[in-house]
Symmetry: C2
Subunit: 468 residues, 2 copies
């Protein structure tokens, strides 16, 4: 009997099965909350470390702002409060007493960080101010799904202030490309469509939202990270102004951008197969698992020796020699957990001076001489990394249809993405698609780039899909 | 005019001045909450990385549990709910609706993690289960002080389950010693008294609390980290049981342990002087700042060259060549921020082939040949690390008095710690001391070790102090 529901049978149930069997996450006791189990958290920690390094390379620094926001702050930006009000968790009792002003648990931090950007911005010399925080946020969810849509999730949120619109726009775009797109593509091995959101899909309070959209194994879209130009909306609401080089007061231009534990859900759905997770080697907490085929002293010792050599080569390695579990069970477990490469060490192979290397992505096995194993694995990991990306790209290409009518777009979006000139859709077409629960995922130039500022929308194409 | 209030004049005001001038933290808009500014957060990130590595070396793995806990969970352990009830923040509205069961914002996670320890513990083979999480927690504070006592703070909390009492006790002790004491001593350079809390001072729900107590610059004590044996209290409340090797059901034994952003406050108060912070080099986000004395192209270029050589030597280095600020202002800033070593690069020194190295802890300056600078700095950093520890230890020794009566203890505790046999104090003496706002910080063996399990309390000595 298969351990997991097959994806073709029931994709959502397959997803739940993977979460449970790979021990990634569990439901929390309060509806919509999530327990991230150690293996799921190890994946998130690896994502964090890589994204954090990219954010720092882009010049931003980490800070931490309070979880609790005065309710009045949210009301200062009209669209923002309208967008987030239905999802708020509100603290009304503190220290045993009814609070005079109820306090909101942050759904995002533009407002509270805006207050401090204002405080710390006096002169143009203080700008740009480039901040990021790693934090939990709360958005009450009626239809929660672990990692994809939970009432509490973990994320990073960047918030920056700039002297003018062009600099703010360039920075938001830089984050979208150099942090998010590059991380998603090069580390998560998920090809993404980049572009801007339509007015309807924009972040509440933004003047422009850039997005990275991935295709999941069932052809649906997942918004994996977004970067927003906020214009002067929050600068106006929170008095983020500065004395310019010209001696006059100016309002700053701000941006915000975020990526979250939702990416773990994207990882599962973009690469997983009927045997479980498939984690790209650059991300994988464990890149190689060494499995002694038998519970035999010589075999286990040899397995540990190989693992030590691989660790010395700079790889993340585990030996799974659990004595209570058969070899078959341990193989299944390594597959469910998506460990990119297995090194199987058996007495017969050893007698011939070999071990067996197995790729998780293709299940291809190869016997290699013991002495060469450590040298061969790094190249194999590179092949798995490239293989997963190629496979995801091939799926996306096979499921993206160029169409010329909204009706054809709606049909194509039943199984994947529809690509169509925006002028053939427009806000009216977008409203019609919404009736079928379809959305415009992004607008982009015909060659797949983020639209330039001030360009003609009629020159753009858009991607339409069902989405998570 | 001095930039900071002197410590002798007004220690609490000096502390506030350091927080503001070193740009470490700011008050949040909701009473008692805290904004951790980039420099304060960089210090916390360095603490996190080191403590996290020690926790992992002790075999625990990271996970993440929800912020929101059903109110009913807290009531399951009687002492626990009694201890935390007065400090709770309660969410009563979610998604625009009154909640059926109010939800508590976690003040600590024994209850919610207990629920999952129970779920994941079936057999003795599943134990020990060694978990840790990095998270924010909320405890409503009436007298908040940044880093020391804030309504929201950041911490790690470890939670483990074991097959028997001895193993649980040994693990809690291992964490107290190998994670907390070693980190505080070897990295933060703060000597700590270790020992157990009296019954009165124990964590709510614990059977034994081990603590690391540091002495601050004003002679007061700061509890810097604690590790608790929880006996079977939470195992009973949350049904954490397992099938033993004997085939029978047994209740597990659990522990919990934590350290928080409070350590940043301890760092400031243990090492700071009238010129600002003094950060031990092993912790410092910036270990060396290179300061060109003049805004002169050759001098600045040479400064950058030296910085590059120091960076190549594996040090964390910054060049402060801000053109708007005089050399004196930049020196003051480096002092306030507590950067362990300055390299001052001036035209006169350069003409003689030298640069000037300045230690932050002693202000001692030395001209060294340019070619030797990069080689000399690592040893100098080691000296600063050792010097700060020695100075803190000397202060503690000069301010710890051996006494033999409760009255003398109360007198000595006005300026530091009083050490006295516990049998001369007892719970009655402890109650009398409490009237003067003095507490027994810990019980320890006469040679300064954590008391052995089951030892005679009459053999122990205790340390009495005012505390934060």
């Amino acid at each position: 009997m298969a351990v997991l529901t097959s994806r073709a049978t029931d994709f959502p149930r397959w997803y739940q099965d993977v979460l449970a069997k790979a021990e990634l996450a569990d439901n929390g006791p309060v509806r919509g909350t999530m327990v991230i189990r150690p293996y799921g958290y190890a994946i998130w920690e690896r994502m964090q470390a890589d994204v954090d390094a990219r954010i720092k390379a882009a010049g931003a620094v980490n800070a931490y702002f309070p979880l609790f926001i005065p309710e009045s702050y949210l009301r200062r930006e009209a669209e923002h409060v309208e967008g987030f009000s239905p999802e708020l968790a509100v603290v009304t009792i503190g220290g045993g007493k009814e609070l005079e002003e109820p306090v909101v648990v942050r759904p995002t931090s533009e407002t509270i960080i805006g207050e401090y950007l204002a405080k710390w911005t006096q002169s143009y010399r203080d700008l740009p101010l480039l901040l990021n925080q790693w934090a939990n946020v709360v958005r009450w969810e009626l239809r929660p799904r672990l990692f994809l849509r939970s009432s509490e999730f973990l994320w990073q949120e960047g918030h920056t202030a700039h002297v003018d619109e062009a600099e703010a726009a360039a920075y938001a775009r830089r984050i979208a490309l150099e942090v998010y797109r590059d991380f998603l593509t090069d580390v998560l091995a998920i090809p993404v469509f980049i572009g801007t959101k339509t007015r309807k899909e924009r972040f509440a309070g933004a003047t422009n939202t850039m997005t990275c959209e991935g295709m999941m194994g069932d052809g649906k879209a997942l918004q994996m990270a977004t970067s927003h130009e906020l214009g002067q909306n929050f600068a106006r609401a929170f008095d983020i102004d500065f004395l310019g080089a010209d001696g006059a007061k100016h309002l700053a231009w701000t941006t915000s951008w975020g990526s979250s534990t939702r990416m773990v859900g994207g990882l599962i759905m973009a690469h997983g197969d009927d045997n479980g997770l498939r984690i790209p080697p650059r991300l994988a907490p464990t890149q190689v698992v060494v499995l002694p085929v038998r519970d035999d002293e010589t075999v286990v010792a040899k397995a540990r020796e190989i693992a030590a050599a691989l660790t010395d080569a700079g790889l993340r390695v585990q030996v799974d020699a659990r004595s209570g579990l058969s070899f078959g069970r341990r193989v299944t477990d390594a597959e469910i957990k998506g460990i990119p490469v297995r090194v199987e060490v058996g007495p017969r192979d050893l007698a011939a001076g070999n071990v067996t290397l197995v790729r998780r992505d293709t299940s291809v096995k190869a016997a290699v001489p013991l002495a060469e194993a450590a040298a061969r694995v790094p190249a194999l990991l590179d092949e798995v990394q490239a293989g997963l990306h190629a496979e995801a790209l091939a799926l996306r290409e096979s499921r993206t249809a160029d169409v010329t009518t909204v009706a054809d777009a709606a049909a194509a979006a039943q199984t994947g993405f529809a690509r169509i000139p925006w002028r053939l859709v427009g806000e009216e077409g977008e409203a019609r698609l919404a009736e079928d629960a379809l959305t415009v995922r992004c607008l982009q130039t015909p060659d797949g780039e983020i639209p330039p500022a001030g360009g003609d929308p009629d020159d753009l194409i858009c991607l339409i899909a069902r989405s998570y």
